[in-house]
């Protein structure tokens, strides 16, 4: 009797539980490359930062429009004497149940400054973290640092106790012998908790119902399943066959196909990344040129002629299928310092370029090698091929060497390239990042040998100038110098494309990061 009564009850319960499973909003997504590690301070790399940012949180974050927003800090303000004061969010717990306190902030900064951390450059200006009380900290910088909050958006906070208990007080060392606990385990304060992690196969996260921001964000994702698919055609096939709901990096040539499929859509947005060529003007004699005893790139007329010879609109139309924005400067809209005057496209003018070449003493041009990656940027090799044809029109005979990124970038690092392609993104959204790496004479990625005293001193000046209007003027002055000197040949700002199911609504961001707290699934 009892049994007979129980059966329908059980059946109802079973049905209820199964509909509950169905009602759960799962976001199944894919992209080319998996996060390299779940250790938040070990690798400063786009996909790693984006994946860890779903589980870990920083003091300050950016929303989909890249505007600074409070995350683990609720407010921050500059104080006298090189200090930024941060008020921490109260009542925040780690996934493992530990309380988030000022101790953890101090610990995370220490961890990020460790020699084996890949974030030590970002936080090098922070010399001390002073704990004022459990939920207030002072960050003391070496000198006044007006853009410190911008530099902290991917500096994730780890629990001190958890790190000590699991022997991961320091990030993994490259020369180490064993895998550390933090490589495949995660304990953040963020909106999603790690369920399982098989690197390069499947990473599953589920909603953290204890999250401080629960209910404050539009997202309704309960579960995230991430499956990296390296091959571009397979990745698109997975979307077309409805096995994933979202592709972060569909190849540009497949966008029409995705749009044409039932129930799928694409979205594009300008990326914070500019593609350009660098010319080594600092070296005595180019290594790959037929001009001996002098360096043609040392003459600004040659550099201007090279700039005038590039048909940026044709590259946009033919090579990029419209998916790029021709550039006049080497940093994108959205970065402080980019404006319409500075970024005005350098017009195509072959005649003027030819006469400039003649004035500079190269009426018949010269030869040089262009180093180009073939697996790093959208259509990188094709852009270089187009440039070779365009430069031939003014007599510059370019031989193209297109090679994988693992071989290309060391050439720039070792300063052994005469003429090279490079792309640059700006995580801080401030021109200082561009000047200090690409335009300052000492910049670690400035392989052009370019050195302009005004630019060098402004690079130093804007690092500590707190009058924001004055600082903006200084930045503009520096860009004016750069536009005059033309150490680089700007090509275009890249465009990001996402492909997804009609059921998914994900706000696009110029930093190419998926922010699931804003993602809704119908």
């Amino acid at each position: 009797m009892i049994l007979r009564k129980l059966i329908p009850v059980c059946a109802v319960a079973l049905a209820a539980s199964s509909t509950q499973v169905l009602a759960e909003n799962t976001l199944r997504w894919t992209s080319q490359g998996d996060a390299l590690t779940l250790d938040p301070h070990s690798q400063n790399e786009g996909p790693t930062i984006a994946t860890n940012g779903m589980m870990y949180e920083s003091l300050v974050t950016r929303d989909a429009d890249l505007v600074l927003q409070p995350e683990l800090a609720v407010s921050w303000e500059p104080m006298d004497g090189n200090i930024w004061r941060f008020k921490l969010r109260e009542g925040v717990k780690y996934h493992g149940g530990e309380d988030f306190t000022a101790e953890d902030v101090a610990f995370s900064f220490e961890r990020a400054k460790h020699e084996s951390s890949d974030y030590k450059e970002q936080v090098k200006s922070v010399v001390e973290v002073k704990i004022i009380d459990d939920h207030t900290i002072d960050l003391v910088t070496d000198e006044v640092n007006p853009i410190l909050p911008n530099q902290l958006t991917s500096l994730y906070m780890m629990d001190k106790g958890w790190a000590e208990a699991n022997n991961v007080v320091n990030p993994q060392d490259f020369a180490g012998k064993e895998e550390t606990f933090a490589v495949r385990n995660s304990n953040g304060t963020g909106p999603f908790k790690l369920v399982s992690r098989a690197p390069d196969e499947l990473t599953v996260m589920e909603k953290n119902s204890e999250w401080w921001g629960d209910g404050q964000f539009p997202g309704n994702v309960d579960r995230i399943e991430y499956r990296p698919i390296g091959n571009a055609a397979t990745r698109v096939a997975a979307l077309l066959s409805n096995e994933v709901d979202f592709v972060l990096d569909p190849p540009l040539q497949d966008l029409k196909r995705i749009d044409a499929a039932d129930g799928l859509k694409t979205d594009t947005v300008a990326q914070i990344r500019t593609i350009f060529f660098g010319m080594d003007q600092g070296v005595e004699e180019l290594r790959t040129s037929d001009v001996k005893g002098k360096n043609p790139f040392a003459d600004v007329k040659v550099r201007e002629a090279m700039n005038l010879a590039i048909d940026r609109k044709a590259i946009q139309r033919v090579v990029m299928e419209g998916l790029s924005f021709p550039a006049g400067m080497i940093t994108s809209p959205g970065v402080l310092g980019n404006n319409e005057t500075q970024d005005a496209e350098i017009p195509l003018d072959v005649e003027k370029a030819k006469s400039l070449m003649a004035e500079a003493g190269y009426p018949d041009g010269f030869s040089v090698q262009l180093d180009c990656p073939n697996n790093r940027y959208n259509n990188d090799e094709k852009i270089c091929q187009a440039a070779v044809a365009m430069l031939a029109k003014i007599g510059v005979k370019v031989s193209l060497e297109a090679i994988p990124k693992a071989q290309h970038f060391p050439k720039i690092q070792k300063r052994i390239s005469d003429f090279y392609m490079l792309g640059w993104g700006v995580p801080t959204l401030d021109s200082h990042y561009v000047f200090s790496y690409l335009l300052d004479a000492e910049g670690s990625w400035n392989a052009t040998g370019y050195s302009n005293d005004t630019v060098n001193s402004i690079t130093k000046g804007i690092a500590s100038e707190t009058d924001l209007d004055k600082r903006a003027d200084m930045i503009n002055d520096a860009w004016t110098e750069v536009r005059k000197d033309m150490p680089y040949i700007p090509i275009h700002h890249q465009v990001i494309a996402w492909g997804m199911s009609d059921k998914v609504d994900a706000p696009m961001s110029a930093d190419d990061a998926l922010r699931p707290r804003f993602v809704t699934i119908k």
């Binding site: 790399e45 390069d200 390296g230 397979t234 060391p410 690092q413």
Partner: protein
């Protein structure tokens, strides 16, 4: 006999050493891993320090000796890319590759022999001609194209099978198997067919050629004269004699299947050692590349050794010649 085995073993060790040295010296051309290992903000001093820590600036031969020294102690180092021990990674990824290779070998054998016998007997039938001409696809189209075509047909258009990945695995100790669930079988079918096509075509053509030859042999004529059934002649007398070269080829090609699986695994995102190798090449992840190449060389050497030893047992002439 024992000296023969020892001689072959010594030769194998030499082959391994040569293969590892050659592959190691090629790593110079793959590029500099350090750029992939640190963010763009890293200073040049830091890059230099990491290169020194990893010994990347040492002469290739020094690096090779260090690698072999560690490898002989079972230490293949840590992957530069995902910072996990290489030996663990290979152990984790090997079951996926071996199961894929196993299923493809079975497909290649069963279908290849059946179709080979059929086309050998019914030389002029329309089905034979169709099989023979379509089998050209297997040798003429690159694996990459075949894989993508199968994905678009069976996953995107018909939606019968998943496009990629390895779903439905069950853990048996450290071995993860696809064989115990429906999902597991569904995801292994397309990559296994893709990987098998080349070998299948080869076996088919080999069996057919052998069948044609054997059918002309005297003992088949005598068998007919004895009044044996066609069935007994085809499958007992003829097929048995065609199989000797087929088995030799299969043995040698198991290594080939493992090596070819690199492309198939990349297309289908099959989480085996081949996919791991491609990712390592992209990143210039030297520890994984070195260990993988040694591993593949080892498999080739072992398979060849076994085949050679089997010959000794099968064919006494080799044994006698050795003495």
């Amino acid at each position: 006999m024992l000296s023969y085995i020892f001689r072959r073993l010594a030769q194998s060790v030499l082959v391994m050493a040569a293969v590892s040295l050659i592959s190691f010296s090629l790593f110079n051309f793959v590029g500099d891993p350090v750029n992939n290992m640190v963010g763009q903000e890293a200073t040049r001093e830091d890059r230099v320090r990491i290169r020194q820590d990893l010994g990347l600036d040492d002469p290739i031969f020094t690096q090779y000796v260090r690698f072999m020294g560690n490898a002989l102690n079972g230490d293949f180092g840590l992957s530069y890319r995902i910072k996990r021990p290489v030996s663990t990674l290979i152990k984790e990824r090997l079951p996926a590759t071996l199961e894929l290779v196993f299923v493809s070998a079975v497909i290649a054998l069963v279908v290849g022999i059946a179709a080979g016998v059929y086309t050998g007997i019914r030389r002029n039938g329309w089905l034979s001609k169709t099989i023979l001409s379509t089998s050209l696809v297997g040798v003429s189209l690159p694996t990459f194209i075949i894989g993508i075509a199968l994905i678009y047909l069976f996953a995107v258009t018909l939606r019968w099978l998943p496009s990629s990945g390895r779903a439905g695995v069950v853990e048996l100790g450290w071995w993860k198997t696809s064989f115990l669930t429906v999902d597991g079988w569904r995801s292994i079918i397309l990559p296994a067919i893709t990987l098998s096509l080349f070998q299948l075509t080869m076996i088919l053509r080999l069996v057919r050629a052998e069948m044609l030859e054997v059918m002309q042999a005297d003992y088949i004529k005598f068998a007919r004269a004895r009044g044996l059934s066609e069935r007994a002649i085809n499958f007992v007398h003829a097929l048995k004699n065609t199989l000797v070269p087929v088995i030799t080829i299969i043995g040698l090609n198991i290594g080939g299947l493992i090596a070819f699986s690199v492309i198939t695994e990349t297309v289908f995102q099959w989480p085996g050692t081949g996919l791991m190798f491609i990712q390592a090449v992209d990143f210039a992840d030297v520890p994984i590349m070195a260990a993988y190449l040694c591993f593949v060389a080892l498999i080739f050497v072992i398979v060849n050794l076994i085949v050679d030893l089997l010959y000794v047992f099968i064919d006494p002439r080799i044994r006698l010649g050795g003495q």
